[in-house]
């Protein structure tokens, strides 16, 4: 064998071909996931309508216990009714905006509050993870509190946050209610980030850490060049969870604090209308679903920018 031939005898060009084939089948898998996802939604809709068709009008109860829900139009409106209601005016007044406009406005407001909560939560979560990674004692001291923090019910802290916030005032800055809501959303959002980031920052094995030590570089460079890139596969799901948590936190806190203008408040207000206007309560629910999807989608798009750092996930 010649020099070059020997040198490259274990250079398998097949790996490249295999890579191309894998990405092609990967695309097919992605398509299938979309189709299956859409089928899932259709299935829920069909199940709803079929049950409405065959289920007992007055439901089926044994004593007080409801075994089968009622299927009349007030309890289970047709899916078409729900969407129709979205396209109708909000109120009977002649100058009323459309229902969907009201829902979009409320959703925008809530999404904005949730985004602020998400950003605060992610920042705090990352900071805590960094401190815990750097100082082992900090990890022992802080980690139990982080876990404990999530066992406190949200509705218990909401009034507290509101009351404390009301006392904050310096210069022109006045604490507003939406800030309390954002703070509570961040309270839910920081948790997965701090846990996920800590796990990610600690994920490089001894081999890599010692390699950086052998290069004679300190904690900071090891953090930037090794720990942070290595944490990306752990961080992305954490950020997505944080986004979902921020949305839930916002909606629940809007209700607990009594903040007007958001989708949470709208859910409560419209729920009372079910008696005469069965399609109405569903409008803000669709809004809430949309917020959740947008939040998760934005984080997924962020993930596309750091795809390179997720190579280790599929090929270890």
């Amino acid at each position: 064998m010649t020099e070059t031939a020997t040198r490259q005898f274990d250079a398998v060009p097949a790996t490249r071909a295999k890579g191309a084939a894998a990405s092609k089948s990967g695309r097919a898998v992605a398509w299938r996931r979309w189709i299956l996802g859409a089928l899932g939604i259709v299935f829920v809709g069909v199940a709803w309508e079929v049950y409405k068709l065959v289920g007992p009008e007055k439901g089926f109860t044994v004593g007080e216990l409801i075994l089968l829900p009622r299927t009349n139009d007030l309890s289970m409106p047709h899916i078409a009714t729900m969407f129709e209601r979205l396209s109708e005016p909000l109120t009977g007044a002649s100058n009323s905006i459309f229902m969907w406009q009201a829902v979009v406005e409320a959703s925008e407001f809530s999404l904005y509050v949730a985004a602020v909560g998400w950003i605060i939560g992610v920042s705090v979560g990352l900071l805590l993870a960094l401190v815990m990674q750097r100082f082992r004692t900090a990890q022992s001291a802080v980690l139990p509190w982080i876990i404990l923090s999530q066992t406190v019910p949200l509705i218990a802290i909401a009034p507290l946050v509101r009351r404390w916030g009301a006392q904050i005032q310096f210069g022109d800055f006045v604490w507003e209610n939406w800030m309390s809501v954002a703070l509570i959303a961040s309270y839910l959002a920081f948790f997965p980030v701090s846990i996920g980031a800590l796990k990610g920052l600690n994920s490089p094995d001894t081999n890599h850490v010692e390699l950086f030590r052998s290069f004679g570089v300190g904690w900071w460079k090891t953090l930037v060049k090794l720990r942070i890139p290595a944490s990306v596969p752990y961080l992305m799901p954490a950020l997505q969870l944080a986004a979902a948590n921020a949305v839930i936190g916002t909606i629940v806190a809007e209700v607990s604090i009594g903040l007007k203008g958001g989708i949470g408040r709208m859910v409560i207000e419209f729920a009372g209308a079910a008696g005469g206007d069965p399609g109405k309560p569903w409008a803000p629910i669709f809004g809430a679903v949309a917020i959740g999807l947008i939040a998760a989608g934005v984080v997924a798009v962020l993930g596309l920018f750091v795809r390179r750092y997720r190579r280790g996930e599929t090929n270890a």
Partner: protein
């Protein structure tokens, strides 16, 4: 080659040796106050340009000794100097390059950027980095793979990238902890030939940890045989197969090679009493 003469360690008496270990010992604290003596009374000198293998059964402390030289651990007794400096200073001055059994490449960096990693960390300019990585890619025979990611490479190729990375800052000392341990036999022999070739070109001293006797003999000027619990030097075998550049595959068939293999094997398996403890007196 003109550098051939420098490689003869005896011809450089004025320069400090690559590694001097005197009376080095390492004790690990065990559970409940029990102590584990990993190394005891290690005296060893590695000359510039010399290839020294550390061989012995598992638990004999051969990796520990290499880690002490690398300043990844500190000796509990004795003294250790690397190019006349403390091990720590030598590490900070990047006097050595290191390669482990696992290639340890960063999966999010291309092969080229993996090789450039140490240079990048030490703020070497972009143009110079590119030049150096190009040289190294051709040295390890991976010129066409610079833009591939590690997961697209075979195990042997990944290990070559790791070796190229350890050579990035042209160190005078290479520390290798079973770098071919995870490779299959065929790739392994091939890589040994490659390493001999690389050593001939770079003229670096090498401390090479292995538990393969033929591997140690094929590559080394001297083979240090260690005995376990506590880790001591049992013998040092002078292989005498010539300079690294002369180490090609036909050497594996030679009488000298077999003789050295048997000698190392006897020291490894012989009872500790039968063989006098080897002490390096150079």
């Amino acid at each position: 080659m003109t550098r051939e003469d420098d490689k003869d360690m005896a011809s450089e008496p004025t320069t400090t040796p690559a590694v001097i270990a005197e009376n080095v010992g390492k004790v690990f604290p065990g559970k409940k106050g029990a102590q584990v003596t990993a190394l005891e009374d290690i005296d060893l000198t590695v000359a510039r340009g010399e290839f020294v293998s550390l061989i012995g059964p598992s638990g004999c402390g051969k990796s520990t000794l290499m880690r002490l030289i690398a300043d990844l651990d500190q000796p509990t007794s004795g003294s250790l100097s690397v190019f006349g400096k403390s091990a720590k200073q030598a590490r900070l001055d990047q006097e050595y390059g290191i390669a482990f059994q696992q290639a340890g490449l960063l999966p999010w960096r291309t092969v080229r950027r993996n090789i450039e990693l140490p240079l990048e960390l030490h703020k070497v300019g972009k143009a110079e980095r590119a030049k150096r990585s190009k040289e190294l890619l051709s040295l390890v025979g991976l010129t066409d793979f610079g833009d591939n990611f590690p997961d697209q490479l075979s195990g042997g190729m990944q290990q070559r990238v790791a070796i190229a990375r350890s050579l990035a800052e042209s160190p005078n000392l290479l520390l290798m902890d079973e770098p071919f341990g995870a490779l299959d036999e065929m790739t392994r022999e091939h890589m040994q030939g490659e390493l001999a070739h690389i050593c001939a070109e770079t003229n670096a001293a090498v401390v090479f940890v292995t538990h393969s006797i033929p591997e140690a003999v094929f590559l080394s000027h001297r083979v240090v045989v260690l005995s376990p619990r506590p880790g001591r030097i049992r013998a040092i075998v002078d292989v005498g197969l010539g300079t690294s550049s002369e180490r090609t595959d036909h050497l594996r068939e030679s009488e000298t090679f077999f003789a050295a293999v048997s000698e190392v094997r006897e020291h490894l398996h012989g009872s500790p009493d039968a063989v006098p403890m080897g002490v390096d007196n150079r």
